[in-house]
């Protein structure tokens, strides 16, 4: 069911450096939302900051929905100060889920930074479907790592303070024997430069690959046209990340260096 309302915060814990997990109780949402979909969240009832912020659904605990967020700017700063007396405004579920039903054998999850957010709920769903999973999680350093809800994550850090010293893709290449994987499909989420690199790797190797993208969004529901991504399947050059995505087949997307900012 689609919701558009305010919820009391049930809990808001720090789970890693600058990283929080926030839960609220919304049975109607918990029942229907699928891995890869997102919520558009209002963090104040005042006019500033004005716009909603999109967050992936990260996990479901009974009636409770969890989002996991990194403190980046004003919106996430306000979120991080919330407690049980606070409310958030939620619209969702929005966007399309991951292509879990596609024809593949092993799911390869690649998460960079806060891109880990959508994968706990995906991991649960894949487990229910009886899929094999290989999970790689990258972070700037060990204190920023958050791996709750993931299955046997292989860890990489930029500074080598935990796990593999390097990025997620290099870690995958170094530590996973590609030929041992049964018809793999990559599910990737993280910073755009990482997604760009993974896309190129997938195109080169011919592995199935799906990217969960981030763009600025004003509405999250297809009415502002503010979230274009260049896409080969789009009739007019651009697809909308909010309604055509946020999950896209890697070979459909055209990245440009200057859109990485």
């Amino acid at each position: 069911m689609t919701v558009n309302q305010w919820y009391s915060v049930r809990s808001n814990r720090k789970v890693a450096e600058e990283t929080y997990a926030l839960r609220f109780s919304a049975p109607e949402l918990a029942e229907t939302i699928k891995p890869g979909q997102f919520l558009n969240v209002r963090v104040t009832k005042e006019h500033d900051p004005l716009l909603r912020r999109p967050y992936s659904i990260s996990n479901i605990y009974g009636d409770e929905c969890e989002i996991v967020y990194a403190v980046e700017g004003r919106g996430t700063n306000i979120l991080s100060r919330m407690d049980e007396t606070s409310e958030i405004g939620v619209i969702g579920p929005l966007g399309n889920p991951f292509g879990m039903e596609k024809d593949y054998g092993t799911a390869v999850i690649m998460a960079g930074g806060i891109g880990v957010a959508p994968f706990p709920i995906l991991t649960t769903a894949l487990k229910e479907m009886g899929k094999n999973t290989v999970t790689l999680v990258g972070a700037r350093n060990g204190t920023r790592l958050f791996t709750d809800g993931l299955a046997d994550p292989i860890v990489a850090t930029d500074d080598g303070s935990a796990g593999y010293h390097g990025n997620v893709l290099d870690c995958f290449k170094a530590q996973v024997d590609l030929s041992s994987l049964d018809n793999p499909r990559i599910f990737a989420c993280g910073p755009t430069p990482m997604l760009h690199a993974i896309q190129q790797y997938a195109l080169e190797t011919g592995i199935q690959c799906e990217l969960s993208l981030e763009t600025e969004m004003a509405c999250g529901m297809g009415i502002c046209q503010g979230c274009p991504i260049e896409s080969k399947s789009a009739p007019r050059k651009y697809s909308l990340v909010c309604t055509d995505g946020p999950c896209f087949e890697a070979d459909d997307i055209v990245f440009h260096q200057h859109t990485h900012a």
Binding site: T2, H47, L50, T215, C219, C224, C227, P228
Partner: protein, 316 residues
Amino acid sequence: MNTAFHSKSLHLKNRVLVASGTFGYGNEVARFTDLSKIGGIVTKSVSWKPRIGNAPMRIAETPSGMLNSIGLANVGIEEFTAEKLPYLRNVDSQIIVNIAASTIDEYIQILERLEDEEGIAAYEINVSCPNVKEGGLNFGTRCEMTGEITRELRKRTDRFLIIKLTPNVTHIADFAKTCQDEGADSVSLINTLVGMAVNIKTRRPVLSTITGGFSGPAIKPVALAKVYEAAKAVKIPIIGIGGIMSWKDAIEFLLVGASAIQVGTANFLDPDAAAKIAEGMAAYCEEEGIEDIQELVGALKVHETQSAPGFVPVKA
């Protein structure tokens, strides 16, 4: 208690419309709101050919506002009439088609094409477009050009004709007056202000187009002043737009002289905003014992001690 709007051929069940470019073609948000509670739906500006719109980034948040440089991305007149209009015709609300063009001939061409289509209650003409023949100069910032568009379109339609004015001019009253003189049935205002945002990390403009259209609650004070100025200059009904987030904001626009209002940016925060605003206005009238909401239009009381400096910024 009556909240309807009637002027010539335009009949709205209430005074609330959704603004062009902020509500898609209605279908996108039908799951979030009851479209039949909205007086009218103004469509995204339609151009003759489809337009892909501007490159990303198209959106920037600002204090209590936002900038957009969507670039009139739209499906073009053919797909609009074939695929969007049929859905809209079945909605229990009035359809107002917003037209954008880069030459006067293109405005005419689009309007004439739409004349063949049923179920259109009114046209709203977006004159905040670069005029290619004048080297990209904005149509809407030149009174003569705004007048010419109005005159040419008026000749060609009996439908309700609304000219949507840009606020980026010195004296908006002159533009409203010109539209009235050239036969417009109404003027709507304001379109977005010109605004800009800068990313100091990259040292680049946030928007791909450098400047963009500024909307949201931040601009409400400007919109109220412009509507007030225009309302004093013309007799045709004015549709007030700019930063309307709540029924209270809507009543403010009625008081300064708007006969109806449009909800824009607020739809992004709450796709049910327009319906809620219409309900809130009705409830307010009930409470205040107002029998016809028309009583509020232009009902601003100006105290004896209050002077009326009009467009002159009050700095002295």
